[in-house]
């Protein structure tokens, strides 16, 4: 049984000591799945790292008790700590793509781990490894074990990671975002596996995640953290269903429900989280620019093929079909949601519309105009201005070497809207205000802002092009849930204010349900189903849509706050 008391971890830095976590108490019983939930910067991973003794470089445990069973984890020498790792405590990392040594076979990695902790022969270790792989659901394990990590799919790989974590029968496994990098279907399988292991082997799990849906689905108990401190802890139904701490309450409010649509997320009013400020110059400027009518988008039989890797001199490489006969009609002034798992072709579709890639066939129409494809689209084509995009990663979508002012005024200058440099700056500052940021941000650099703030800046940049059609490619998937709520609110407000047409791309069904008027479901480059959002979610027709909906973790209705 893991007992954590008053745990504090500090990171000395040149500006003094930074306290990562403080006063953390937690106990995890054998067989218990203990959810540790919080937004980025909450210190949840630090708790896990402290328990397993792998705090990154200057960090150290400043205070508190840490014990596993009879062992005081704080009194161990480095060698003893290394002995315990794997043997009694193990860990599962977020990304199965990167957590396996690419140069070693699964077999070697398993045998190596088993032999590190018990004195068994190679053949015994191999047998144990094969049995284990069978147990966690890898078929034909005796053969598959010889494979290298890259030969497994993402979900299988995460199973292998789990096998490696449990092959030494540890008492405690720290699972740090074990399903975040996985698609819904695979996520549900992995979660099932974790539940089974906890139940059958009585392994204690510390399940670190930002996804409250996951916690709701499998955690026995949950601890909510924020800024290095524990906000609330207790049994899952109690904490999530009847939160006592305002933070937990706010968190729950921000979670988009899957089974119904809410008009707006409830967000605590704090600085920098504000919604649209109305009536400023930027708003006026945008409204002035609406010389065009609402603009829709139609895609007809759009196909995108990529050249596959060439393997022979004599055979043409097999093309890889990213999109096949996609027909999509985004009504003017509406939000079209596009959902699909990774690799389904969502981003390819966005790139085809924006002209970054050239479709092999099909017609695209913006309003009534045919949108030239890819390279055929000149640099001065009006669609370059009318179609704007908000990207997924706010850390890479803003040029980190440019001032916010330079980033925001670029479209004004580039499209020739405003000739005077001072005027451009003023307008950019007003636009910042419009999206809920302080106008003085204009003199700062992107790295001085948080992810949510950057996404607001990205939205501001898109708006400064006076777009009629906005593509939002996973605009919130890199953000914490509370920030996501703010951005979604912002987008909704802007859309209704300026009559934008939006293509909203997301893997998150719940988010799409909150945002979209119509929804299309994309799978392997093919549209499986398309229709009005409420209709589609309430009565999914395609099998695939049904599966997706059923596998997405949901919170019991009674825990959800009224929307």
């Amino acid at each position: 049984m893991l007992v954590i008391k008053d745990l504090a971890v500090k990171f000395p830095s040149r500006f003094g000591e930074f306290t990562a976590i403080e006063d953390v108490d937690m106990t995890i019983k054998p067989g218990e799945i203990h959810g540790l939930v919080g937004e980025s910067g909450a210190g949840k991973s630090t708790v896990g790292a402290a328990v397993i003794g792998l705090l990154s470089a200057p960090g150290y445990i400043a205070n508190g008790e840490l014990s596993l069973g009879d062992t005081n984890l704080r009194n161990l020498t480095p060698d003893q700590a290394h002995e315990i790792r794997g043997d009694r405590i193990s860990m599962i990392f977020q990304d199965p793509q990167t957590s396996l040594n690419p140069l070693m076979t699964i077999e070697d990695q398993l045998i190596e781990t088993i032999q590190a902790h018990s004195n068994v022969s190679d053949s015994a270790a191999r047998k144990r490894a094969v049995d284990l792989l069978e147990e966690i659901g890898i078929k034909n394990a005796a053969e598959r074990i010889k494979a290298y990590p890259h030969q497994f799919s993402g979900g299988m790989r995460q199973r292998v990671v789990i096998a490696l974590a449990i092959c030494t029968d540890p008492e405690l496994i720290i699972a740090d975002e074990p399903t975040t990098a996985l698609d819904v279907a695979v996520q549900s399988q992995v979660l099932d596996l974790i539940r089974r292991l906890a139940r059958d082997r009585q392994i204690a799990f510390m399940l670190i995640t930002h996804d409250i849906g996951v916690i709701a689905q499998i955690a026995d108990r949950v601890t909510v953290m924020r800024k290095g401190k524990v906000m609330e802890t207790g049994d899952t139904p109690q904490v999530l269903g009847a939160p006592t701490h305002p933070y937990t309450q706010a968190l729950m409010d921000a979670v988009p429900p899957l089974d119904h649509r809410i008009a707006r997320f409830r967000v605590p009013e704090e600085e920098g989280t504000a919604g649209v400020v109305t009536g400023n110059t930027a708003e006026k400027w945008l409204l002035e620019g609406q010389q065009y009518a609402l603009t829709g988008l139609t895609l007809q039989d759009l196909c995108v093929r990529f050249a596959g890797p060439r393997t022979s001199l004599f055979r043409k490489p097999e093309p890889y079909v990213a999109l096949r006969d996609v027909n999509l009609d985004v009504r003017p002034g509406s939000i079209m949601g596009l959902v699909g798992e990774s690799g389904s072709g969502k981003s390819t579709l966005a790139k085809a519309i924006t002209g970054l890639i050239t479709p092999s066939s099909g017609v695209m129409r913006l309003g009534d105009e045919i949108l030239p494809a890819g390279k055929a689209r000149s640099r001065h084509h009006p669609s370059r201005q009318l179609v704007q995009m908000v990207f997924q990663d706010p850390y890479s979508s803003l040029n980190s070497r440019h001032r916010i002012g330079a980033i925001l005024t670029e479209p004004l200058w580039f499209y020739g809207f405003v000739q005077d440099a001072k005027e451009r700056e003023r307008l950019a500052a007003a636009m910042l205000e419009l999206v809920g940021m302080a106008p003085d941000a204009i003199d700062k650099y992107p790295h001085q802002f948080s992810g949510g703030q950057r996404q607001r800046i990205a939205v501001a940049r898109a708006l400064l092009a006076r777009p009629r059609f906005l593509i939002c490619d996973e605009p919130t998937s890199a953000l914490d849930v509370s920030i996501q709520a703010e951005i979604l609110n912002l987008l909704k407000d802007l859309q209704s204010m300026f009559g934008l047409t939006i293509l909203f791309i997301s893997h998150n069904l719940a988010v799409v349900r909150q945002m979209a008027d119509d929804t299309a479901v994309l799978r392997n480059g093919v549209i499986e189903e398309m229709g009005a959002t409420e209709d589609l979610f309430a009565r999914p027709k395609a099998d695939y849509t049904q599966t997706l909906l059923s596998l997405t973790p949901v919170m019991p209705r009674e825990w959800q706050s009224a929307g």
Binding site: L54, R85, S90, T98, S99, L100
Partner: protein, 323 residues
Amino acid sequence: MVYFILKRLVQSVFVMLAVAFLAFSLFRFVGDPITQMTGVETSVADQERLREELGLNDPFIFQFMRFTTDMLQGDFGFSYRTRQPVAEMITDRIPATLELGIVALLISLAVGIPAGVYTALRPKGFATQAILMTTLVGVSIPTFVIGIMLIFVFGVQLGWLPTFGRGGTVQIGGWESSLFTIEGWRALLLPAITLGVYQLTLTMRLVRAEMMEVMRSDYIRFAMARGVPMRKLHYRHALANTMVPVITIIGLQFGGVIAFSIVTESVFQWPGMGLLFLESIRFVDIPVMGVYLVVIAFFFVLVNLIVDLLYVAIDPRLRVKDV
């Protein structure tokens, strides 16, 4: 795979042709071979006749075409200086340069990799700082100064090692090797160290940087979390993954080693291709210079190909198809 190799080969031919062309355009400017070929008392008319006979008065493109077509037919021509067949002169010198280059490379790897691992694992240690500093000074001294210093310390003052040449060599199937006699090794040591110093530093720094990077990767942290023994962790996991980028750079550098052996060979009177090339420049021995360049380009291309194949050997991701 086959396609990949073929593609590389085609590109290689392009590279070699371009080098040949560049090399050839260079010849016209290095100097006048005729004045180097003839004595003081040779008359101008005799010199002109020789120039005509050697085709040096022909248009440049014509000379280049002749050079390449002859070479493609395996005819590498004859040296202006010694009148020997160039092919033979170069192949006689290849073993010396290759052995020097390879031993220098091995020394740099044998010292550079452990030093890189050590300095990566103890980034703040005193020894690390000392090693980093020493090697930095090492690469900041011109190679020829290092060479001469080594000669005077170990050859003249201490008298431990020979000061020039290859020492005892043994003929093995047309390959004149100094690797099979003690004398040969003694003669090889100083030039190889001189040539290897730069590579050593480069290797060490590269291994260090890559190793530090790899040590932060998820799979190393995961291996840590599984309690994989430290030695295995450092060498089997971390170092092995470090090798992919290290091999690239080292492969690229090997071409440079061969080329830079010109300086080392000149200092140690090491009878390799580089020395031959320097002599050829002095005598404006056009055929030898041309073939030397093409051979160097060939080595470069060959090493690049080997590096690509080594990747495949090391990295299963390139070797095994998805199941």
